[in-house]
């Protein structure tokens, strides 16, 4: 569209202005209703440009950072927040008195394109409340995404939520157009779902999850070695669950995640600290969302996915909560002091990864650099290996990098997270206290 034409369009009528005001208000309502969903990754797809606009890169790109410090990658909105369900933990529950609205598929597609062409976003994260019925909602979402892919010839990233309870056929059609699909598990156990989200069930979540994981696997297998591979959610499937709204332990949550990774080959499980949005008596009264706990779960989840840990190495029935004061890898190392110190010049890759403070990059650099020379402490520093924590667990050419600390309690103190996380820790303590006095009846 040329510039002149667009000015006329804008200056033409008052009516035009009202439409735009409405769009802005709608956006405020429907983005506001979607923001508690924490997953925003745009990674894992390499959809190529097909002559129209856009493409997706395997690494994903952050386009901005909001005041809460989170990355903005996708335009994350609900198509509608007019929900017929009444999940206790959700702002959009039918019994809540909030402004309601919806985008038409045409509006949604146009807005996405305009944002995308300005490089505001990597693509669209489309979700919705249950508008009328799960199937009707999915039909509207499908129409939006079809418009984007067919009419606008959009090859950017699309993450689409599958509405629990919708037909599997609709879920499949969504998967054929989107880069990533997700079904939110919402709460870590069936009892909790029944308690807080009575219109959903374990089945309504797991059935589409399992169905989609099969289609994803088939498409991936069909594409091996061929360029005309069938695209079905090439960035895979993820899910999200709310932490701190119900009483499940970290151990239980991590075992659930591990199971989801294994059975449905999920790409990610997202943990979302429960943000108190309701004074429902079934919910705990929190002063603040349990952010530190969420953070520790992400760290532990990371250890499961990339460092070869199992939940049972991190926690057990008698000790089911992650340590708030130290990160899960440090906690593991402190319980396994007999395996340390480790000689940097000879340790295996797997063991290096288990040293607190050493990540995949550092471990790989060590392997490379030690081919050329025997590594001393100064070399490690030059490689960019952070030794703040690692120094208590490493030997360099036979020499230890720190005064040995015999006493595990003192060592733990030295390895505690300081400053920023202290604040989070204080909040967490306050939360625990509040929990003790909370009248809410917690499902166990």
């Amino acid at each position: 569209m040329t510039f002149a034409a667009s000015v006329e369009e804008f200056e033409g009528t008052e009516e035009a202005m009202t439409v735009f005001m409405t769009l802005s208000e709608k956006l405020a309502v429907l983005a506001g209703a979607a923001k508690y969903d924490v997953s925003c990754s745009s990674s894992g797809s390499s959809r190529k440009n097909a002559g129209g606009t856009g493409n997706a890169g395997p690494a994903g790109i952050c386009h901005s950072w909001t005041e809460d410090g989170r990355c903005v990658s996708l335009l994350k909105v609900l198509l509608s927040n007019e929900c017929v369900y009444d999940c206790a933990y959700c702002v959009n529950r039918s019994s809540n008195d909030v402004p309601r609205s919806h985008f038409t598929p045409e509006e949604m597609a146009e807005l996405t394109m305009q944002f995308y062409k300005r490089n505001y976003i990597e693509g669209l994260f489309l979700s919705s409340a249950v508008h009328r019925t799960p199937d009707y909602t999915m039909e509207m979402m499908l129409r939006t995404i079809t418009l984007l892919r067919r009419e606008h010839r959009f090859s950017g990233y699309i993450h689409a939520k599958v509405i629990p309870g919708a037909s599997l056929e609709l879920a499949s059609r969504l998967g054929a157009l989107a880069d990533r699909v997700s079904v939110n598990i919402e709460l870590p156990s069936e009892e909790s779902l029944r308690f807080l989200a009575p219109q959903k069930s374990k089945h309504s979540v797991l059935a589409p999850m399992s169905h989609l994981s099969e289609s994803i696997r088939e498409a991936a297998a069909s594409g091996k070695g061929s360029s005309r591979s069938l695209l079905f959610a090439p960035a895979g499937q993820s899910t999200q669950l709310i932490v701190g709204a119900t009483g499940e332990s970290d151990f239980r949550i991590l075992r659930l995640s591990e199971g989801l990774y294994r059975r449905y080959s999920l790409k990610r499980v997202y943990y979302s600290a429960y943000v108190p949005v309701s004074d429902d008596r079934r919910l705990p009264a929190l002063a603040a969302p349990p952010l530190l706990r969420e953070h520790r779960l992400y760290q532990a989840d990371w250890l499961l996915r990339f460092y070869g840990f199992h939940p049972e190495e991190l926690l057990d029935e008698t000790n089911p909560q992650l340590d708030a004061a130290v990160d899960p890898k440090v906690a593991w190392a402190l319980r396994n002091l007999h395996l340390f110190p480790l000689e940097v010049n000879t340790a295996s890759y797997e063991m290096l990864l288990r040293v607190p403070g050493i990540g995949v990059t550092s471990a790989k650099r060590i392997l490379t650099a030690r081919k050329v020379r025997r590594l001393e402490e100064e070399h490690l520093r030059r490689l960019g290996v952070v030794l703040k924590r690692g120094r208590f667990f490493l030997l360099c050419n036979g020499r230890s990098l720190a005064q040995p600390v015999g006493d595990p309690v003192r060592l733990r103190n030295l390895l505690c997270d300081r400053t920023k996380e202290r604040t989070a820790l204080r909040n967490e303590m306050r939360r625990r206290q509040l929990l003790l006095f909370s009248p809410a009846e917690m499902p166990v």
Binding site: T2, F3, A4, S6, V7, E9, F10, E11, F20, L23, S24, L27, A28, A31, G32, K35, Y36, N49, G51, G52, T53, G54, N55, I61, C62, H63, S64, W65, T66, E67, D68, G69, R70, C71, V72, S73, L111, Q114, F115, K117, R118, N119, Y120, E122, V275, A288, P289, L291, R365, T368, A369, K371, V372, R373, L375, E378, H379, R382, L383, K420
Partner: protein
């Protein structure tokens, strides 16, 4: 020992290196034209970029030190760090000794420092893939930026793949240089316009919608402005549409 002055291009720098190797000379300093030499009394040599010499050295380096090492050298050069050229020269000399193992020697301070320069450029490039903001200006899309490193040569491929059927231009306001794409290919060109800011009501409308989205998307009780500034330093706010005008750096 002499001070060498070149035009700032990678080609120019390689021409300088080529001469140094030929003459087995050690430079006192190498810097871009226009960067003030700091009161050196030494003799100054102006070197004109010579594509043939640059190519010869380029190919020799690829053979001797691996293409990856040469790519790293190129990236590090784009950091435009003060006195960076001397580090790059030391890196190439070390490459002459170590050959293909150059990049494995992460323990060598000279290698480590060039890697850090290259890393800085890569990181800033990655950040700007997200932070470029196009404004619709009639028939084309225009984006002003002011990165610390010279990023334009590293942005062309990405945006050409992403927006192949749009006309667009990314303007490095500080360096007075533009990356222009004409629906077929991209090229770099000098550009001396001051950054334009006014684009009319249609553009204003979408900017307003984006600001609305940005403001709403933050979860109030998770505020963490420190983290925000960490990821998106204030010096990048100047050209960001989503930052309310009053909060942007002066001049925008």
């Amino acid at each position: 020992m002499r001070v060498y002055v070149y035009d700032g291009s990678f080609e120019g720098l390689l021409t300088v290196f080529h001469g140094l190797f030929r003459d087995k000379a050690q430079p006192l300093a190498i810097h871009r034209r226009g960067v003030a030499a700091q009161g050196f009394l030494a003799e100054t040599v102006e070197v004109e970029a010579d594509p043939a010499k640059a190519d010869t050295l380029y190919e020799a380096m690829e053979r001797r030190m691996t293409p990856r090492a040469v790519r790293l050298l190129y990236l590090a050069h784009l950091s435009e760090e003060r006195d960076g050229e001397m580090r790059l020269f030391a890196f190439v000399c070390r490459g002459g000794q170590l050959g293909e193992r150059l990049l494995d020697d992460l323990g060598d301070p000279g290698v480590a420092v060039v890697m850090r320069m290259a890393n800085r450029v890569e990181r800033e490039r990655e950040r700007f893939l997200g932070l470029v903001r196009f404004r619709e200006a009639g028939t084309f899309f225009y984006a002003p930026i002011e990165p610390a490193c010279r990023l334009l040569p590293l942005l062309g491929d990405h945006f050409a793949r992403r927006f192949p059927s749009m006309k667009w231009m990314i303007h490095d306001v500080g360096r007075k240089e533009a990356l222009v794409y004409d629906e077929e290919e991209w090229y770099l060109t000098p550009c001396d316009l001051p950054g334009v800011t006014d684009f009319g009501p249609r553009e204003e409308h979408y900017q307003h919608l984006w600001r609305t989205y940005f403001a709403v998307a933050a979860v109030e009780n998770r505020k963490n402005p420190e983290r925000q500034r960490n990821r998106m330093p204030k010096k990048t706010w100047k050209w960001l549409v989503e930052i309310p005008r009053g909060k942007r750096e002066p001049g925008a």
